[in-house]
Every structure is written in C-alpha cells, then in structure tokens.
Symmetry: C2
Subunit: 361 residues, 2 copies
C-alpha cells in the first residue's frame, strides 16, 4: 500500500493532504511547510504517550516545543485554548512559527484556531490521528471552540499548510471512535456519491476490522469529496453547508447530553437518521431509503436514537441556537435522494416535531 | 463644516470612513452595512451613559441589543471578550447579525475580534469616540486582545463594513486622551508627510483647544494616510509595519507599567522619542530632528520618558517578546528623515541599550 496525496485547490493557499501508512514520521512532508525554526506541537494527554516522542524526533532539526491539553470535547473551551498562547508566549514564539496539531478533531480545532489568532495568524499543519479528523475536521480550515450555549460558536476559517493523515495511527483508536468516524465517512456517500455508499455498505465489515486498504480507500474518497466541496465554497456561503448533514440535530444532541458524553460522530449519526426521517416527511426520500440509512448506522456500530432524557421540545430549543439558523429561519440539510443533499429553509415546525418525537425514546 | 467620506480600497471589501460633526445619529450611514435585523452594540461603562441611548434610537428599526464592558486597556482580556459571546448567544444572534463598536480603541479591538470569530465571522461597524480610535485603531481591520505576556498577541484581521467617526464625540474626551490621540496623529506626519507635520506644529494650540475644523482636518489627513497604507498592504507583510513607529518600545512600556496605567498614545509618544534617538545613533536623523520630535510631544501634552521603575534591561526584555520580532531578530521602525520611516533589522544591542539608558530617568 502506497501513500497518496490529494490537493485542496485554494489558489495561493493550495495545500496537500497526504494519506498513507507510517507517514507521520516522514520529515520531508513537514519541511516545505515550516517557515521559521520554531515549531509548537499541540496534542492531548491520550495521544502524547503514543506519538509525541516520534513526532519530536521527526522534527528534531527545528526548535520544537509542545503543549499537552486534556483530552475531550468538554475541554474545547476558551480557558484551555489559552494554554496554547501561554506556551507560545513563554517560548517567545514569533510570527514565523508553525503549530502542528497532533490528535483528533478537538486538538485540530483548538490548535488551528490558535494558529488563526496568534499574532493575527501563523502557519499550522494537521496530523490527524482519529478517523473523524482524517476524513473531516482536519481538512477545510474550519477551526473553533465551543461556548456553553453552542458548539463551534467561536472560531475562524484558517487553512492548514498540509494535512498528514497516517492510517497506522488508527490502530490505537478505540472502537467507539472508529464507528464515530464512519458516521462522517457515510455522510459523504449520503450527500454526494451513491456509488461510494454502495461500496461502504459492502465493505463495512472490513472497515470495522480496520483492514488497512479498506480504511485507506474510505479516507481517500472522503477527503476527495470534502476537498472538492471546500475548493468550491471555502467560506460556506453556499453548498459547503451540505457537509452539515445531520449536524444541526447532532449539535443539539451533543449540547443537550453535555459535551463529551456523546462523540460528535455518534450525534451526527442520530442527526442523519432524523434528517432522513424529515426528508421522507416532505416527500424527498422513500421509506426504504430511510430504513437503509438506519441499517447502515447500526452496521457501523452507531446509535440511531438520542439520549432518553432529551425531549423533542428541548431538542428543538437547542437546534434554534445552532448557527445554521439565519435570520430566525431554520435551514436544514436534507436528502433529495441517496447521494444528493439539499438545503431546505421551509421546514414546518409540525414536521420537525414529528421527526423529533419519532426519535425520542 | 461638512461631513466627509474617505474610502479604504480593499477590492470586494472596500469600506467608507465617514468623518464629521453629529453623524453618529445618522441612520442612513449604518443601513447599507447591516445585513440582517439583529444588531449588537458593544460599548463600555464610560461611553454608555453618554451615547448609547442616542445610538439605540438611531438604530431603532433593528432588533438592537447591547453589551457594556468595563472601561480600560486592562480589560482587553479573553475573559471580558467572552462576555460579548455570552450576549450574542443569549440573544440567539445568527450569522447575519452585525456588531457595532461604540467607544475607543479597546472596545473597537474587542468587538472587532468578536465579530471576526462569532460563528467564524460576522459584520461589524466602528463608531470610534476617541481621537486615537478615530485616527488609528478603527481603520484597517486589526483586532485583538492582550495576553499577560504581550499586547495584542491574540487577534485577527477583520475589516469593518464602515467607520463612522463623529467629531462631536471628542468634546467629552478627557484632555489626557486627546493628547494620547495626538501621538498617533503626529506619527502619520513622522512616517509619511512632513508637510502635515508642519501643519500640526503650527496648529497644535487649536488642536488642544479642540477647534472642530482643526480636529476634523487632522483626523481626515490621518485616515487618508492610514487608508492608503492599509490598501497597499492589508496583512502587514510589508510596509504597513511602518505604522508601528514607536510601538515596539511603546508596547514594552505599556506591559512594564501594567496595562491601563499608561495610555497607548502616551507609550507611543515615548517610544517615538526612543526611535528618534536610535535613528540619530545610526546616522539617519540629526540632533535637530530629534529635538523637534521631543518638542512636538511636549507641546501635545505627551510624556517623553518611560516610567522610572522600568530599567533599560527590563525594557529590552519586554521588547523581545513583542511580535515585531521575526526569527529572533528585532525589527524596528526608525526614521530616515522627518516624513519617511523605514524598517531596520540590524540594530546593534549596544545602540539600543544606549537609547534605552538615555531615556531611563
């Protein structure tokens, strides 16, 4: 199996996504993207014992420092984010420094947002170590933090200089996180590519067994679709929003359950089932489509119902805070068919409540 | 006296700077720049009793909310900044909302940075009420916060949709802040326009007496110079850095004295005197030029010496943290002659220490 390189086409800010086994220790993948001598590795307490030492060795020709954050979505806060600035300023890092995010989506979002804001913008490189980060959060330049009142409410668009997705790092991923990553992989099939969806359906067992070739293909195709959509609509003024299938529901579930209780991918899986149900109610999907989506989630080891303590009314309230709401009107990503998503700004409250009630346990 | 409009030329993000008496209550100046219905006014405890009610009335056709921050540079922190997000989220403000910064540089920097980061970027309008904000901080899109280890270390480039500089608001400005603003006005003369410097020298008495025509002219010419420089180099990759004359010294003084003890303009005045002394040491300015700069500062009611507790060694240490340091080499803005600044990356430590010692009391 060979490493492969995709490109995100963003004019002067083009960047490569390298995907393959054993590549995170290849110094040559980093070198072209490190401007000065100073490198700050941002990672967390779970990942540091596994990979930090090898990354430090890989970058040993630079002045490398590190900041190790606590692990988990509930630490994606302003206070924890500030520790990155403490580390950068204690080490007197200048404007030509480079941040390297080593970890999952939370580390990538916080390190990327710190890179966006340190001295009004410095370079950063993503080294995602979870499936979810490799197929989604490390690509596309969305960075940010949670606020108690809503997920990713504070953030910036700040593209990495490179993404280095080492498929070997998935070997240490807990099974629950592997499944959560598959929720985002399935998403690309749902919104854009029914052939990929067929492939995922027939290869789910290999994916769950971490067959390296199957995982590499799934990551590659996911990144291709994401890179293509991001290149067309970097700042989400249009159809980049389609990547948010299931996310407005999902964010409400994450916030309602308490950040960190549910994994992002798990909430997205339930949210996608809700979006599918709503798509059926407005006549876009068939009953059979909805059942197929449910079945895929179950096969991938993902939940299809929200936590029992969340009432439909509470979910609706939490959804109204989500930032996809524009001018008071809720905009939801729904499915016209399997492989084609569209935005609907005209969802009726009754339909929405019916969907939420169906899914409340 | 008529209102005047300048334009900052930034392609698709062009924006107007309106300057004149009584204009902050002209709803028509805001309307073209407010996308949705939701408007959040960000102001502080000093400015709110003076102008908030009239601004609310001016914008009464919109859904207007407000957040009132404590007044002063020492509150330009992550914690206080977060109150803006609390207010936005409590009011369920969406991505098409608009922030209006009503106040001086601190309010403008914090509101602008909140606008840069709320839901990854929303619109904002600057309504600067201090001379310093009208001639400098409200124009050009630099936003940010202080960190205990350095001023403006966390921030973003985020251009306003419009700047509305009402010269009548200067009537309520304390004399010390008027002088602090004049330090930045003088800066434009020093770095770019010796004729303007001559004009300032001969009109200093009118300016200090707040003659409306004199102030309007000073603001207009300052904004013209700044708008021109920003249009050429929005992200400070080149000669926008010339606007930082005296600022590396000044930031060290502000940090060393404790934020809020010294006004930014006061620290810049001392920093400019230091830059002048250093410029003389490397053969760029004459003794007479240096004396003239000192004299202008004194006439404007500004200090020329740093606080007595700051030793030259401590100042040097604080300067090394400043973000103008690139790759360990200190880059300083110095004066080739009155009316022309240049960056010098080759300042000798001995010369710098000699300058700092000369100015230590």
């Amino acid at each position: 199996m060979m490493a492969k390189t995709l490109k995100v086409e963003l004019g002067t800010r083009d960047y490569p996504i390298h995907i393959g086994p054993g590549i995170f220790t290849d110094a040559e993948l980093y070198r072209p993207h490190i401007a000065g001598a100073q490198v700050m590795i941002v990672t967390n307490e779970t990942i540091a014992p596994l990979y930090l030492k090898r990354l430090r060795q890989t970058l040993s020709t630079f002045d490398v420092r590190e900041v190790v954050l606590p692990d988990g979505e509930r630490y994606k806060t302003l206070e924890v984010w500030n520790r990155i600035f403490d580390a950068l300023l204690n080490a007197r890092f200048a404007r030509d420094c480079t941040l390297v995010a080593l970890g999952g989506g939370v580390v990538g979002d916080m390190a990327g947002f710190a890179a966006a804001c340190y001295q009004r913008g410095v370079a950063f490189i993503q080294v995602p170590t979870t499936l979810l980060a490799q197929v989604d959060s490390s690509v596309g330049g969305k960075t940010g933090l949670n606020h108690p009142a809503g997920k990713n409410m504070i953030g910036a668009f700040h593209q990495p200089r490179a993404v280095i997705a080492d498929t070997d790092t998935l070997e240490t991923l807990p099974q629950r996180e592997l499944s959560a990553g598959l929720a985002e992989v399935l998403k690309y099939g749902f919104i854009r590519d029914s052939a990929f969806l067929d492939w995922l359906e027939s290869h789910m067992a290999e994916l769950l067994a971490r067959d390296p070739d199957a995982l590499a293909h799934a990551i590659e195709r996911s990144c291709e679709i994401k890179a293509h959509i991001v290149a067309e609509d970097e700042f989400e003024s249009g159809h980049r929003a389609l990547l948010n299938l299931g996310h407005t529901f999902g964010h409400a579930i994450e916030a309602g359950a308490g950040y960190g209780t549910w994994l992002h991918g798990e909430a997205v899986a339930v949210g996608t089932c809700m979006a599918a149900d709503l798509s059926r109610r407005i006549g876009w999907l068939s009953e059979a489509d909805v059942r197929r989506i449910h079945h895929l989630m179950v096969c991938a080891g993902l939940p299809t119902q929200p936590p029992s303590q969340l009432s439909p009314e509470r979910l609706l309230e939490l959804m109204a805070v989500d930032k996809k709401v524009i001018g008071g009107q809720m905009r939801l990503v729904l499915l016209k068919m399997l492989g084609e998503a569209a935005i609907n700004s005209d969802v009726q409250r009754d339909d929405l409540l019916a969907t939420l009630s169906t899914h409340a346990s």
